[in-house]
Subunit: 364 residues, 2 copies
């Protein structure tokens, strides 16, 4: 029986709030206690209208401002790897919070919650979205579900996704395509291997092409997207005394947002010409869209506080979902994305503060 | 609940008897009904002493002859592949019996049973062994169990294993070694693949070595044993968005009986120098041993009937078990070993008769 979550204190400092969120584990499909806690703490706030679908919570101002910004984050994490409860290492702005979810992405959720409570009269109307099932199969994604079931909840002119970017602005995202490359063989008893054709040996050529592949770096709207083509799985073999008649290499292609899905697929089919290629998963990327006026204004305001320059987002994120809804969207959140899903996941406290302050200033 | 098997008729012709044995399916671990039927039909015969351990049946003459021959066969098969009940195609000696077990090795078991019933006064004492669990892990092997539990049941001067040899004499057998070759990598998110090292790509070098490998053909005691080094399995990949940090290639080395297990292992380690190699299964081969006087006499008597010459056995068989007990042993049985375990497994009727007649003549 799930233990009811302790109430969240949105007036606490960001480190305390982030730790409270992380110490309430919420791996995908187990978001309910955290969703309940978020709903419970936001519902009493008079400046917010709170809506719920499953374990997705949407809270929005209705001030009649000429523009509306959607600020979204997912509340689920990948499974805990014995890295909870959180630990605080160091002090002040030098402090780091260690533990599952600190980077991906409860640090971002803490920033959202603190601002949702504090910004009672933002300059732009704001829709705060906290959603479930981001870390699992795309069809389960809570943001996708809300977009299908309640598209009006997500209406807006611009979206900020608080995915980890080390408190920098990362525009757009690469697309992702997954294929299976199948290498056939002829089965035989391994005692008389010369009567068969070994499919696993045949897969050597597929791995050779992957090894020799030189991924492109593609400039899109001023940002350079680095691509990647990688085997993420391989399987072959029926029994330990049988020459295998099939070997399947699962390949993941991360491609720049200037390529369409069809172009990405065509490219992969060219690389593996001569082999059967079956597409098993595909999601288009999103162009950075930083030429949109609201996006440009956001970038200018944030960089005035943080310095730096916008960068490309390599991983696929839900900004692509906003892009497909016709909304420009950027990633902006605390934590180094390279540490996401790692056992040593950890988030610097200063990035929590920097994101909070920059986003808060722009929205005020 | 297992259906009691119909009684076997050992006076029936060999085709009928083989079909009756095959039509009583006995995949490994499901040998009991067939073992019961064999025990039931042999026990009443006054010239045989019948012993049982689990689903292994041993029936022997005790005539005080100066020499004893062990004639052995396993009664289990690999799983049925929708190829039962048996079908008879063609007529007379041209007939072929199609179906699971016809080759591996109920044709041989039919020859054993027919001779066990008919040879009431053989020139050499005979121990007929019918055993279970040959087609699965070595530690389950019924012949091995009997050798451990009742070594005196297997005592003899020479052993004939009725494994399929197309009614020719196949001496000794290749050894078999199974290893896992492990290729390490460094995990990373596949969206930032350049921060990791792809273990599956790294396994390309292992497959390259396998592809380039030229297996030896080794002469041992006058027979030429063909070796083989093959991947029989490959696995790698944790999740479809993770650069894999390990890829494991399972390799099977079939080696000539002149090599010891230690030499075989050393050879494989040389081939995969630079990689971690873990031995997961090993069984020494058996030299043909045809210079033993009883073996030589058997070979001469059989070839006088069938023509041809002794050949090497490529697959590992339980002759190696007899060899390790210090008994020379040969394979001699109906059916083409290449068809063993195949969906189109089928045995020519003439081979049943040829094995029956040659073995019967030598034992009489």
């Amino acid at each position: 029986m799930p233990v009811p979550a302790p109430p969240l204190d949105l007036s606490a400092d960001l480190v305390t709030l982030t730790r409270a969120l992380c110490d309430m584990p919420s791996p995908s499909s187990h978001e309910k206690p955290l969703a309940d806690a978020i709903e419970a703490v936001l519902t009493p706030l008079p400046h917010l209208e709170v809506l719920r679908d499953g374990d997705a919570i949407v809270a929005r101002t209705r001030l009649g401002r000429p523009a509306r910004v959607v600020v979204a984050g997912h509340i689920d994490t990948v499974p805990v790897a014995d890295n909870l409860p959180t630990r605080l290492v160091g002090e002040g702005l030098h402090a780091e919070i260690w533990g599952r979810g600190t980077v991906d992405m409860k640090g971002g959720v803490a920033v959202q919650l603190a601002l949702a409570a504090r910004l009672t009269e933002p300059a732009r109307d704001v829709t705060w979205v906290f959603y479930d099932h981001e870390e699992v199969a795309a069809e389960l994604n809570g943001l996708g579900r809300v977009a299908r079931e309640h598209p009006e909840w997500l209406e807006g002119d611009f979206a900020v996704l608080c995915e980890p970017t080390s408190a920098g602005i990362e525009g757009g995202c690469n697309g992702t395509l997954r294929v299976e490359v199948r290498v056939p063989g002829v089965a035989a008893h391994s005692a008389r291997s010369w009567t068969g054709t070994n499919a696993i040996h045949g897969a050597g050529e597929v791995l050779r092409r992957l090894e020799a592949y030189e991924p492109a770096a593609v400039e899109v709207d001023g940002l350079v997207y680095r691509e990647g083509l990688n085997a993420v799985g391989i399987r072959g073999g029926i029994a330990t005394n049988v020459i295998p008649d099939e070997c399947v290499v699962t390949v993941n292609y991360r491609f720049a947002p200037s390529r369409s899905l069809a172009e990405a697929e065509e490219h992969v089919r060219e690389v593996f010409a001569g082999y059967e290629v079956v597409v098993t998963d595909a999601a288009a990327g999103a162009r950075p869209g930083l030429d949109d006026p609201t996006a440009a204004d956001f970038v200018e305001a944030v960089l005035a506080q943080t310095g730096g320059a916008p960068a490309p987002k390599y991983g696929w994120t839900d900004v692509a979902r906003f892009a497909s809804l016709g909304m420009p969207a950027v990633n902006f959140g605390p934590g180094d994305p390279v540490l996401a899903h790692k056992d040593d996941e950890r988030c610097p406290a200063w990035q929590l503060q920097a994101c909070h302050d920059a986003l808060g200033a722009w929205l005020s």
